[in-house]
Symmetry: C2
Subunit: 201 residues, 2 copies
């Protein structure tokens, strides 16, 4: 398959790219920075330009998307707006605009995060947009039934990120293990699902 | 308790108002139209004005909030934006701005809908904003712990609405039965919960 990975220069996206290539797929890399095609999830025109540039695809994987950490009373209007524009509507727009670019029978795999279901203090905007993405995919899957599949991977705390923060890697999941959930979503038959990725498959 | 019901002129809000008054609470009614105080959930200034007008509260219940029905490819940018501004950020802002108006120990009870978990075709924006509200409340409850409670009621298909559409009332839930879930959220001890309200308590 020819697969667009948005967020390919990130920890998760890099591991997903490696895993997909190891399975024989061709990966088109995109992201806000780093090598590959440039795309800003928060900018719909940028997503449209990405699809015009990248050419025909069999699947799209998004491991990008930022949302603002902070306690309810520490977040301002702009923090909520940026979280919505980027991780939430950015991923929704990646699907909306991707329908013409991805071949029928293809798939979209988005990213939420386990804070959506198991939040900690200071995560209400992050959890909110993750919950939106999961519910969107569950419902959109019905509209796309028989034409496209759409799923969400909900990563636990990435072990590499924990190490960077000076923590023990566990309880976390290594990006390479996390990548297997994305591979499963791309190669599998499921649609409308949220794959909880807190431990190796 | 003195309780603000936003959406009081609606089918659910009217039943919630009746149920709260029957339990001896004082209800301040607000809504986009109908009797009582006027408030537009999509307009943050309008919510701020509502709180300035209404005075001190012990709880806030929101049964208002609209989101756009339609299949993924039938929804345009404005449909998504209005759904976000109204049912999603409208309810989030009702909490954010209400923190100064509601007495410590008070509560917020918001509304999602069972399409969030059990969607049907043509509901991806509705499901999306409901999922956002549920995840927001689950996380925000941790930031507000010990000061305010926040919960969500997820109504099934309201029987009165089914009848208006020419359907049999069942499988549905009468607004009066649904109202008991809101009463439980207001009077109870739980926080961060989504109460699935598809059948009488």
């Amino acid at each position: 398959m020819r697969i667009l990975v948005v967020g390919a220069s990130g920890t998760i996206g890099g591991a997903v790219t490696d895993a997909l290539e190891a399975r024989g797929h061709e990966v088109a890399r995109a992201g806000h920075s780093g090598g590959g095609l440039r795309a800003d999830l928060a900018d719909k025109a940028s997503i449209a330009a990405l699809y015009r540039t990248v050419g025909r695809l069999d699947a799209v994987v998004c491991t990008a998307g930022v949302a603002k950490f902070g306690a309810l009373e520490a977040l301002d209007d702009a923090d909520f707006a940026r979280s919505i524009d980027n991780k939430m509507m950015g991923q929704v727009n990646l699907v909306r605009l991707g329908l013409g670019a991805v071949a029928p029978g293809g798939s979209f795999t988005l990213t939420s995060g386990t804070l959506t279901v198991s939040p900690t203090p200071g995560t209400c905007a992050v959890a909110m947009v993750g919950g939106a993405v999961e519910a969107f995919a569950r419902a959109a899957a019905l509209d796309l039934e028989g034409r496209y599949r759409i799923n969400v991977v909900s990563p636990g705390w990435v072990a590499e990120s924990r190490v960077k923060m000076g923590l023990e890697p566990m309880p976390g999941i290594w990006a390479a293990d996390l990548a297997e959930y994305y591979v499963r979503a791309v190669e599998g038959e499921e649609t409308g699902e949220t794959l909880i990725a807190e431990a190796p498959l």
